[in-house]
């Protein structure tokens, strides 16, 4: 499956999104799915390290950090601010 459009990597700091699709072919991405990054989960881009990589996301209240290369495997639908 190829992922296009908005991904976790393109969320801005403070922006929320709901995961729509995951390209699960990479075992490392499967590992992230075990941590709860699956379709239907709402995530917020909380912070990034200097240079924008890795990135930190909030998922049901817990922080989880991933590298940009992995964040690109998750397609998201941004949630409008305030929504």
């Amino acid at each position: 499956m190829s992922i296009n459009g908005n991904t976790l990597a393109s969320l801005k700091r403070g922006q929320k999104g709901i995961i729509q699709a995951v390209d699960a072919s990479d075992p490392q991405v499967q590992r992230l799915m075990v941590l709860g990054l699956v379709e239907g989960a709402e995530v917020e881009h909380a912070s990034s390290a200097i240079g924008g990589d890795p990135m930190e996301f909030r998922l049901f209240g817990c922080g989880i950090s991933l590298r940009q290369e992995h964040a690109r495997h998750f397609q998201v639908a941004p949630v409008a601010a305030g929504g």
Partner: protein, 706 residues
């Protein structure tokens, strides 16, 4: 006659197991408050060992009620019953009763973090399929309350099919109820099946039906998801031939080419989200002080500045605060040794006690201040949740030199001492990254190299100004940089060769900041100190006594009576085994510009590099506790037989390079052995660094004198 209960104890477990009424596996996701709860329940009645053949620590504790003793096994934090790392595999093996030397659990204590129900429930739901009596401890309920999370435990208990006990492990609230439930865990009925994935359950049912032996549902489910692996081979052997031939077709029909682990995550997390809607009354809101601090450090620049401040304090503490304590230990061993000579007179026995045993013990405990101070910080940082954030911030930089974000603390610590630094590599989950860090750590300029550098630099590097800088200071700085470069190169080369492997997934859980629990900190600190004394201390001590014997025996009676004490000591050393060894290996070190004196001092300093100063003091007959100025004068005036100066600039540069590169530290070798659980890596590190040191010194001398 009453029915005999089934006994499932193998002979090697009888000694531990005969008084144990029930063995309970304590399981949960990482950072769920599992260890704090475990410490609360067992107190000091716990033992730390290793699982067979691996470096993963095995924590077992006990607690007693009036009529029973319960064993608790604290398992590594795990996210799923499909293991992704060595630690997780061990947890899963113990849970399924596949771990050699560990009794199959009679029940499960599932620890569920109230502030992270999402990931917690994903795992706890899998645990309820084990058909074992299960109790859920809901921890961090105080933190959840502060964050505005309200949890309906009755509803949660009903949905999971197991009793849920809310506790606050830090204050002890709710622990009594939990304790009673655990002590009587055999009375709890195994949870009924919550079939969150009907298709998987149907496939599992089919395999159970077509097999001869009663098989556990959860194990069958995992087999369907994981396929046949090394870890479940024994279980697969139990399947009937019919069931075994059905396995792959069933998997294919079930997953249709989708990665099974991904499907498992999708299905179960969908169930978790449904449960959350029912049991979690309000969405978490982030208004606590923890969140404010977290938010501040979330910004890249304050976060990185904060990290450097924390590092500076840790480095300062290990480097400077330990020094007074180490001086006290040093002085005490010296005066104790002096007292031995005063009482027992000068004999081989008093020398064994004073220079062998007492200084051997001193050589071990001298490490304790640094280890305890460093680990106090590491445990505080880890328990407060900061360590994960440090690894996150440093990931990119460390990655570019072949290490990972988690390598930063071990590497910085190694500037004080590689021993606690290497012990600190435990925070690195990936084995290859961890070994690369262990191999790079001993190159960092540790505090034991400093006196050697100081002596040689003060004696042979002129204190001239280079611009606004002092040449001596520049050389010292250069040596620090040299160590860093060589360490980083080593890590890079290793990651490209022997430790080549896929980049580990970097998925780090970043917990919110929380106040560390003092009891947990104290227990962990005690554990680290004990491990060091037991596993490394014995080696260091043995080596110290062996080197003493080599430098003491044989004694010569032919020392002229008119020479002074220091000259006599120098003459004794010359004809001791150590002195003779120095002469034997002189040809080996001759291309480096060393004579037998330097050679024996270098040999004697292989167990501990700073010893070279004391041995040089003895060889040059200034006494082994002479001040530096006297010794450096003596070194400057040392001549070769042909009258040319012994310590030429190329030779001194070579000697400095040798001390910068060589692994002259029995404690480091012993701790690498302990942390990698094999002799392979310590032998490799020692040989590699010795060869590097020799070649470096050889090049410096040969190029310099050419």
């Amino acid at each position: 006659m009453a029915e005999q209960p089934e006994i499932r104890i193998s002979p090697d477990q009888i000694t531990v197991a005969k008084r144990i009424d029930a063995s309970i596996a304590v399981v949960g996701t990482p950072n769920c408050g599992k260890s704090t709860l475990f410490n609360r329940l067992t107190g000091l009645k716990q033992r730390i060992g290793n699982y067979p053949g691996v470096t993963v620590e095995r924590h077992v504790g006990y607690f007693r009620t009036e009529d029973s003793t319960t064993e608790l096994v604290d398992l590594p934090g795990t996210h799923s019953l499909s293991a992704h790392s060595l630690e997780e595999q061990i947890a899963v093996d113990v849970i399924f009763g596949r771990m050699e030397g560990t009794r199959a659990p009679d029940g499960i204590l599932a620890v569920l973090d109230a502030t992270n129900l999402y990931q917690g429930l994903f795992f706890v739901q899998q645990l309820t399929e084990l058909e074992l009596p299960t109790v859920v401890a809901l921890t961090m309920t105080d933190a959840a309350e502060m964050a505005g999370i309200e949890i309906d435990t009755t509803e949660l208990s009903a949905l999971l099919g197991v009793p849920v006990y809310p506790v606050v492990a830090t204050t002890g609230a709710g622990l009594d109820m939990l304790r009673r439930a655990i002590a009587n865990i055999r009375d709890i009925a195994p949870p009924r099946h919550v079939r969150v994935w009907p298709e998987l359950a149907e496939a599992a049912d089919k395999l159970v039906k077509d097999s001869n032996e009663p098989l556990r549902f959860a194990e069958i489910e995992r087999l369907l998801i994981d396929g046949e692996t090394e870890a479940n081979a024994e279980f697969v052997a139990k399947l009937s031939d019919e069931a075994r031939t059905e396995l792959e077709p069933l998997r294919e029909a079930l997953f249709q080419g989708d990665p099974p682990v991904a499907r498992d995550a999708r299905v179960r997390y969908a169930w978790v989200r449904d449960v959350l809607v029912k049991v979690q009354k309000s969405a978490p809101r982030y208004v606590s002080w923890r969140t404010r601090i977290t938010d501040f450090f979330n910004r890249p620049v304050p976060g990185t500045i904060g990290l450097f401040l924390v590092m500076a304090v840790v480095f300062q503490a290990v480097f400077a605060w330990a020094t007074p304590l180490m001086d006290i230990i040093d002085e005490s061993t010296a005066s104790l040794a002096g007292a031995v000579f005063d009482r027992l007179g000068d004999s081989w026995f008093s020398s064994l006690i004073a220079d062998g045993v007492i200084s051997g013990v001193g050589a071990v405990i001298i490490f304790l201040p640094q280890i305890v101070i460093l680990f106090l910080f590491i445990i505080l940082l880890e328990d407060s949740g900061y360590l994960a954030r440090a690894a996150y911030l440093m990931d990119r930089v460390m990655r570019s030199v072949g290490l990972s974000g988690q390598s930063i603390i071990p590497m910085i610590s190694s500037f004080a001492c590689a021993v606690p630094g290497i012990m600190a590599t435990r925070v690195i989950p990936n084995r290859r990254d961890r070994i690369a860090t262990i191999l790079a750590a001993p190159f960092m300029t540790c505090s034991a190299r400093l006196p050697v550098y100081a002596l040689l630099i003060a004696a042979f590097v002129p204190a001239t100004k280079v611009g606004i800088l002092n040449l001596q200071g520049l050389v010292l700085f250069g040596l620090y940089m040299f160590g860093i470069v060589m360490g980083v190169l080593t890590a890079l080369i290793m990651r490209q060769s022997a430790l080549r492997g896929p980049k580990p997934p970097f998925a780090l859980m970043l917990p919110e900041f929380r106040r560390p629990n003092l009891q947990t900190v104290a227990f962990q600190l005690l554990g680290r100190a004990k491990v060091f004394l037991k596993r490394a201390g014995t080696v260091i001590f043995a080596v110290a006594v062996i080197i003493w014997a080599l430098a003491y025996f044989p004694r010569s009676d032919e020392i002229p009576a008119h020479v002074d004490e220091n000259t006599a000591a120098a003459m004794q050393l010359e004809q001791s085994w150590l002195g003779r060894a120095g002469k034997v290996v002189e040809p080996v070190f001759e291309p480096l510009g060393w004579d037998w004196r330097v050679s024996s001092a270098v040999i004697a300093s292989f167990p501990a590099r700073e010893v070279v100063i004391a041995v040089l003091g003895t060889v040059y007959a200034v006494g082994d506790d002479a001040d530096e100025a006297t010794l450096s004068e003596r070194l400057k005036n040392a001549k070769r037989p042909d009258g040319s100066p012994m310590y030429t600039l190329p030779m001194v540069v070579g000697l400095l390079i040798f001390y910068a590169l060589c692994l002259q530290c029995a404690a480091t070798v012993a701790i690498i052995r302990r942390e990698t659980n094999s002799w392979r890596w310590p032998i490799f590190a020692w040989s590699y660094m010795t060869v590097l040191g020799y070649v470096g010194a050889l090049l410096a001398y040969q190029i310099g004198t050419a």
